[in-house]
């Protein structure tokens, strides 16, 4: 049970750091800007759904993943490089205790950050718009927390598998670049190879499934389904690697259930998106633990 001591100690250190408070501040500020921005859209029926939609691009694709990577990437590699890992070992903590403890602390940190961000959006919406639809709030909260933990898991896995600050940084940045820049073109390439053309607005469900195996896409598809609205990615891949026209995209054309015919398969549902995000938390940490337990740590 010694991981608990590591987790508590690490969490105390994280709370004492200025970084995590700055991150919290940035999120709350962003929410305030998004809410005020949404409220100035005069003549429309605005509410939390608009806030979520605005947030999902900048927050969901940039801020949440990057802060999660920042919070996670030094967790193990930092202790290893500075030599404090030797102190931890000397205090009777084993490799598993250290990794599980650190992971618990850092994931908790990001859960708190994501929750504060979502709750501040809800509170601000209630104040500014006078309403706060509970279903949208809960879906937004669950997906955002899951997204934050997914990228924390990736960063922790990278941190455990590499021995140095530089390696962990490279792995964290690399994973973000992979999901933002490479993932969608690769999946589009698979579609092209199979079907001989780029995916249109009516896409096969396996294509949308492959897409949502990326945590960023899982989050985006999940939110689109929740809101019943289009959410445009930060990099606009839907305009580049998919054959969709503006007209067809109106009125939530990109929402998953509007792109596949018939009943939505279970693997394209919202809860499955959350499951995918949780897999991105667990699997990288488990792989990182395997490396870490076998590694020479000097």
């Amino acid at each position: 049970m010694s991981w608990r001591a590591v987790a508590r100690k690490d969490f105390e250190d994280v709370v004492r750091s200025r970084m995590v408070w700055s991150i919290l501040g940035v999120f709350v500020l962003l929410m305030a800007i998004v809410v005020l921005g949404a409220s100035s859209n005069s003549g429309q029926d605005v509410g939390l759904a608009n806030v979520v939609n605005f947030f999902s691009t900048l927050g969901g694709e940039l801020l949440v993943p990057l802060t999660a990577l920042i919070v996670g990437y030094m967790a193990i590699a930092g202790e290893r490089e500075s030599g404090s890992l030797r102190i931890l070992f000397g205090l009777s903590h084993g490799r598993r205790d250290v990794l599980v403890g650190k992971a618990t602390s850092r994931v908790t940190t990001m859960v708190v950050v994501a929750t504060v961000a979502c709750v501040s959006a809800a509170v601000l919406s209630l104040v500014v718009f006078g309403s706060m639809p509970a279903d949208i709030f809960v879906g937004f909260l669950v997906l955002t927390v899951a997204l934050a933990t997914a990228f924390t898991g990736i960063a922790l896995g990278v941190s455990a598998a590499t021995g140095s600050r530089r390696g962990a940084m490279g792995g964290a940045v690399g994973s973000y670049v992979f999901f933002t820049i490479l993932w969608n073109p690769i999946v589009a390439g698979v579609h092209y190879a199979v079907e001989g053309e780029l995916a249109g607005i009516d896409a096969p469900s396996w294509y949308l499934f492959l897409q949502r195996l990326s945590p960023l896409e899982a989050y985006r598809q999940g939110l689109m389904e929740l809101l019943g609205e289009n959410i445009f990615g930060l990099f606009g891949w839907e305009f580049i690697v998919e054959d969709v026209d503006q007209q067809a995209m109106a009125d939530g054309g990109l929402v998953v259930s509007n792109r596949v015919g018939g009943d939505l398969p279970f693997y394209l549902t919202d809860w499955f998106a959350v499951l995918i995000l949780l897999v991105w938390l667990v699997v990288p940490v488990a792989l990182g633990l395997r490396y870490f337990e076998a590694a020479d740590l000097n």
């Binding site: 250190d13 500075s82 030599g83 404090s84 030797r86 000397g90 205090l91 000097n298």
Partner: protein
């Protein structure tokens, strides 16, 4: 039961041999000095004992547990002061001690631990980020002691410490040893090892050169001690006749008496006084430990052969200021 036992313990990184075929036994309750120049493989050995790295060949047993399979059991009973570590800058010294006590299930009073290592309570309230190297070393020592370990592993424990701090550290080692704790003391400074250790192992270039007591090492290396006496007049007595005196040289009113038995010193001075020679001043020169060290680490290369011991003794004579000189005799 041996506290530490290694059998053919070897660590290689590719073609680089960090530790070669180490066979070492450290008995329970002893203070064992692990000596070697920087890069000799001392930290590699410690890392292997604590499962920080895994052996390429061979095995090690620590407190009866295999270093790899029994790593968790070992860690529960070992206190470690590593070489080259950072602590958590934002936490106070007290927080560090609390964490150490919580982690090891230790019941010691934090203030008592601070007192042992010579840290002020006021300092313990401060963030560790503001500590000097010596203070960090003291705090880490307190943390190593927190769990009342059966085996204390100290890797270059004096780094960053002033002479007073070194004395405190040596006192702690003696106290722990008196309490039955085995101490594994790694250092590149022979004098510090000699001050506290029962036995010493010398490691050079990844290989164990010798294991012996300090006195045994001195004898084996053929490096003796000398009494240097400034006299007015020429003694008539034959000092070499005194038991334990091995050689006498006289030059410019200074007698240098080499001896193998420390008791001979008093007899020499006594005999000179009896002879009516005025003894103006005297001091002893212990064979410098650095020379002793050099004698062993250099003979390990076959090319040097036996010459190394002579070189070592010669250097001691050439540089008397580096010798461990003590005014008067015991």
């Amino acid at each position: 039961m041996a506290a530490i036992e290694t059998n053919g313990l070897t660590k290689r990184y590719g073609d680089v041999v960090a530790l070669q075929d180490l066979d070492l036994t450290v008995e329970a309750g002893e203070v064992f000095g692990f000596l070697g120049p920087n890069g000799a493989g001392k930290t590699t050995t410690i890392d292997l004992l604590l499962d920080f790295i895994r052996p390429t060949e061979g095995s090690a047993t620590v407190l009866g547990h295999d270093s790899t399979d029994g790593a968790d059991e070992i860690r529960d009973r070992v206190g470690v002061l590593p070489d080259g570590f950072d602590l958590w800058d934002r936490s106070s010294g007290y927080k560090h001690l609390e964490f150490a006590l919580e982690s090891t299930g230790g019941s010691a009073d934090p203030d008592a631990l601070l007192d042992r290592v010579g840290l002020d309570q006021a300092d313990a309230e401060r963030r560790v980020g503001e500590y000097s190297k010596g203070m960090l070393q003291r705090l880490a020592m307190a943390m190593a002691l927190a769990g009342d370990p059966d085996l204390l592993v100290l890797d270059e424990p004096s780094s960053g410490l002033d002479p007073h701090g070194i004395r405190t550290m040596q006192d702690i080692v003696r106290e722990e040893a008196d309490g039955g704790t085995t101490v594994f003391f790694s250092s590149h400074i022979l004098g510090q090892v000699a001050a506290v250790c029962d036995r010493v192992g010398i490691l050079d270039d990844g290989e164990l050169v010798t294991v012996d007591t300090i006195a045994g090492l001195r004898e084996a290396a053929g490096v003796g001690s000398r009494l240097v006496v400034r006299v007015d007049g020429q003694p008539s007595a034959d000092l070499t006749a005194i038991d334990g005196v091995t050689e006498v040289t006289a030059e410019d009113g200074t007698l240098t008496v080499a001896y193998s038995d420390a008791a001979a010193k008093g007899t020499v001075v006594h005999r000179l006084v009896e002879d009516g020679v005025s003894v103006l001043d005297f001091h002893t020169e212990e064979a410098t430990l650095e020379d002793l060290f050099a004698a062993f680490t250099e003979t390990s290369t076959p090319a040097n052969g036996d010459g190394a011991t002579e070189t070592a003794a010669g250097e001691a004579a050439d540089h008397p200021d580096t010798a461990a000189a003590t005014e008067g005799s015991r």
